[in-house]
């Protein structure tokens, strides 16, 4: 009986201690960091022991997949948790929502205070995306642009040059898919929501956009309709057989790296999946080029896909900032960029060491994309997930060979009422 009593006391005590351990007004030596599964995360985890040694802090790390991370934030931040100090988030997807809800601490003073760390060194597009109502709420960590991945061997066999316009791309995809029955001419994401970000570059290159200057839906403009029709046709006619309408990048990348497609448009930050012989059967034959130009030129997106922020409710904000400063320092960005993750710092891109490990044609493609790039790859609204599904609808209709014009009109109508609702 006494043993049972002791056990109960211990259990209760333990639980209470665990409950109390996270809170308290005092800054803790334990820093709770939540990160997404990403190549960047893998590199930073390798370096965390150095940070712990330098600062004497202990990093308590939580690592989650993208969807789980998003669901976790929704639950925990909604409940006002102080159990997260540093949070990795997607500025374009959740940035507005989180900032508006007051989940992200204002970092404006902190970024200005350390001249050595140099805030002005960060590219302006990514900085815009992590700024909300003139306040800095996040620090960009990973940037990406859409580029064309292609198979050098297939192009050579077909006697083709690397396509520079979307028309040439379509002709090349058609020729290769006709000449090689087992190989698709073109592959890209097909899932209603995942495809939107990659489609955005096509949309801009055709001269369209998601929202016009007055803040109204622009997805039924003639330019947008052409872009929808083009993207859908490329996959419907020259894409893999039995193409699924649920593909995000892992599925599309798998088709490309297993030799199933000649051309593939995707974010440059994923290039190692295609060039690493361990993952890719076509590693020796992969080439990179800027996104081919449409009627409005080559206008790929150029965005920060991830950033680091501090939870407004955290009691450990000073230490959290130490971590962010360290993780986004020039040295760390250079190190991680060399390992294949494109960073947000101008000085690192200007440094030959920063691009030495990249394929030459990829560096050229990234440079040209950074010049003409557009700073967003999805509608800039608060409820991004719903907006993506609305504007993604004509894509899947096109991919399955349906009536894209009608779908774009219907999507525009829903998108307009969505925008009106959000403006209220």
């Amino acid at each position: 009986m006494r043993v049972a009593g002791l056990a109960v006391t211990a259990l209760l005590g333990g639980t209470l201690a665990a409950c109390g351990g996270g809170g308290g007004d005092e800054a803790s030596d334990t820093l709770r960091v939540t990160l997404a599964n990403h190549v960047w995360t893998e590199k930073i985890i390798e370096a965390i022991p150095e940070f712990e040694e330098e600062t004497g802090l202990t990093v308590d790390l939580t690592q989650l997949g993208e969807d789980q991370l998003s669901a976790q934030y929704n639950v925990q931040l909604n409940a006002g948790t102080d159990e997260i100090d540093v949070m990795m988030y997607r500025p374009l997807q959740e940035g507005k929502l989180f900032a508006q809800n007051g989940y992200l601490a204002d970092l404006t003073e902190r970024v200005e205070s350390n001249s050595e760390w140099e805030w002005s060194d960060f590219q302006s597009g990514p900085v815009d995306s992590t700024t909300f109502e003139d306040k800095v709420v996040g620090i960009p960590t990973i940037t990406e642009r859409e580029v064309l991945y292609y198979r050098t061997d297939l192009l050579e066999a077909a006697g083709l040059e690397v396509p520079e316009t979307l028309e040439e791309l379509e002709a090349a995809a058609q020729q290769i898919s006709e000449e090689n029955p087992d190989v698709a001419g073109f592959v890209a994401r097909t899932g209603k929501s995942p495809a939107v970000t990659q489609f955005s570059s096509f949309l801009y290159s055709f001269g369209g956009d998601f929202i016009d200057e007055e803040g109204n839906s622009a997805v039924a403009s003639p330019e947008a309709k052409e872009a929808y029709a083009y993207y859908g046709r490329m996959i419907n006619e020259y894409g893999p057989e039995n193409v699924s309408t649920d593909m995000s990048w892992p599925e599309a990348m798998a088709i490309f790296t297993q030799g199933g497609a000649a051309f593939y448009t995707e974010a440059d930050s994923l290039y190692q999946n295609a060039t690493d012989p361990a993952n890719s059967q076509v590693a020796d034959n992969v080439g990179f080029a800027p996104l081919p130009a449409g009627p409005a030129g080559s206008k790929p997106y150029n965005v920060p896909s991830w950033g680091l922020g501090i939870n407004e409710a955290s009691n450990n904000q000073d230490n959290a900032w130490k971590f962010i400063e360290w993780a986004t320092s020039k040295e760390m960005v250079l190190e991680i960029q060399q390992a294949g993750v494109p960073g947000p710092r101008t000085s690192v891109w200007a440094d030959p060491e920063g691009t030495a490990t990249y394929p030459e044609d990829l560096v050229a493609a990234i440079e040209s994309s950074a010049e003409n790039g557009v700073g967003y790859d999805r509608p800039l609204v608060i409820n991004v997930a719903e907006a993506r599904e609305i504007v993604g609808d004509p894509l899947v209709i096109g991919i399955t060979g349906g009536d894209v014009d009608a779908a774009a009109d219907a999507a525009s109508e829903s998108f307009q009422s969505f925008l009106d609702d959000e403006r209220e």
Partner: protein, 315 residues
Amino acid sequence: MTVASPPRTNPPKDRRPGNTRYKTYSDWANNHRKWLFAAPAMIFVGILIIFPLGWTMYLSLTDSSGSVRAESDFIGFANYAEVLADTDRFWPAVGRTFAFTSVALAVQMILGMCIALLLWRPFKGEKWVRVAILLPLVATPVAVGMMWRLIFDPNIGFANQVLAFVGIPAQPWLSGQSTALPTVIFIDIWQWTPMVVIILLAGLTSLSEEPDEAARIDGANAWQRFRYVTVPLLMPTIIVAVLLRSIDALKTFDLLYATKGRGGGSFNEVETLNIYAYGLSFDYNDYGLSSTVLIIFFLIIIAAMWVLTRRRKDV
């Protein structure tokens, strides 16, 4: 479970039955013992079931979105009106929920009964067969979903390779608009039929032999004995299996999310009420609308269970 009686000890001095304070407590405890014993369970139910349900009901009457801590307005039954008039997502999701449940349940019951009858009489290697049949049951639905997603991949999947081997053209399986729902139903059947088998087998082995023997002596054939003797005797067990499986199938989430992701696919082809409500909450941050869908879903489940349990009483 056996309940050991407490060791008899002499009551401490001040707690002798004669002590009025002790007597009052003890009488009070005796008079209220049904409440005292039930209290832990009631507190548990209150905190973990009634409070969340009440909160969800409250949210369903507000326009809460973005953050549940953000200010929201009380809008009465406006969400209910919106949801019930939604023929794009809500009603198709209701249809899919019932299609999924009824087809999966019917096949599982028939298949489960056949397998249980086969396993009923002892045979050589019976143990191995039982283990093999139970295997799908011990895997987590998310892992099962991912495994089948690979098998049914339209380009590199095993399923289409087998079809190609026997000369049948590749099928879209999970990726087709019209084939996705039947495919996830198939996966559910694969995973949960063993559960029906276990329940029915337990029922069958507890049946007494006499009625069957009597029918045999009266000249009934195998089908007649099954139809008029075994099934009626087994009915209570069958109803239990139907109840358990239908509740489970109605609220299936993990399998659908693991195979088709958010929204049940690009055309919402496997979007059931659960997936729809999850999307409203976690993708759209529309807590008011999501709570409304959940409350309606809750009422639907209560109604379905009420119908089924009434049937059980009739038996």
